[in-house]
Symmetry: C2
Subunit: 108 residues, 2 copies
DNA sequence: CGCTAACGTTAGCATCTACTGACAGAATGC
DNA sequence: GCATTCTGTCAGTAGATGCTAACGTTAGCG
């Protein structure tokens, strides 16, 4: 499978990451342009520490990827991860249908 | 517009609602079958109070709809809301592209 | 009206979380 | 080597959140 970790765990991690407005803003910032941590932090009025922690959460959720270049760390959004999340949202219904079908099967 | 409240607010509300595992489970429960609050609560090992609060959060986010029938309250998932959320996730990139285009425009 | 069933609401509590400030580490320039 | 730049990590704190228990509310029945 393509899942090193259980699917719902990763989906949950992404949703928790996206639940925070500032993290959504960061994700939008690195959606098309790869940016360094400092550049990202400069866009907001919170400490670099806070932004760094947000970047860690986003990275662990799989929503962004990190690349090192000298002392800098460049971040970019991983659109594949978002597509996986969107598919998982569809799965709310397909899974439910699967369970409904299973119930029908039991009644036979 | 189709948005009584700002788009990002509603998207944020949905993401915050979905960030909680139990709320995702509840949403799956009412994805295909309309269910009463008591039925839903019976599926989990937490108090009905807790489930009621989760239902409130889901309802305020727009992810589920409520229908009253006697003393009972029936809930069902609103797939349109999920589709709106999925579209908003795509918007992370299209918005970024819009801003990129605007910057190009400024440089002229 | 009294009684019951099905819910929501409030208060209070334990835990999580986003934040700041101080410190630590790795790569580059002098 | 030493200083500088860019960044992550740790400790501590104020506020948000999910939970339980007790109380309020509405609809139906005798």
């Amino acid at each position: 499978m393509t899942s090193p970790a259980p699917l719902d765990d990763r989906v949950g991690a992404m949703l928790r990451a996206l639940a925070e407005p500032r993290r959504r803003a960061i994700l939008r910032l690195v959606a098309t342009t790869e940016r360094a941590a400092g550049e990202i932090a400069a866009e907001f009025e919170v400490s670099r520490t806070a932004v760094s922690q947000h970047l860690t959460v986003l990275k662990e959720s799989g929503l962004i990827a990190e690349r090192r270049e000298g002392t800098r760390r460049l971040y970019r959004a991983r659109r594949e991860a978002v597509r996986e999340l969107q598919a998982a949202l569809d799965g709310i219904w397909s899974d439910a249908l699967d369970r409904a079908r299973a119930l029908v099967e039991e009644e036979k």
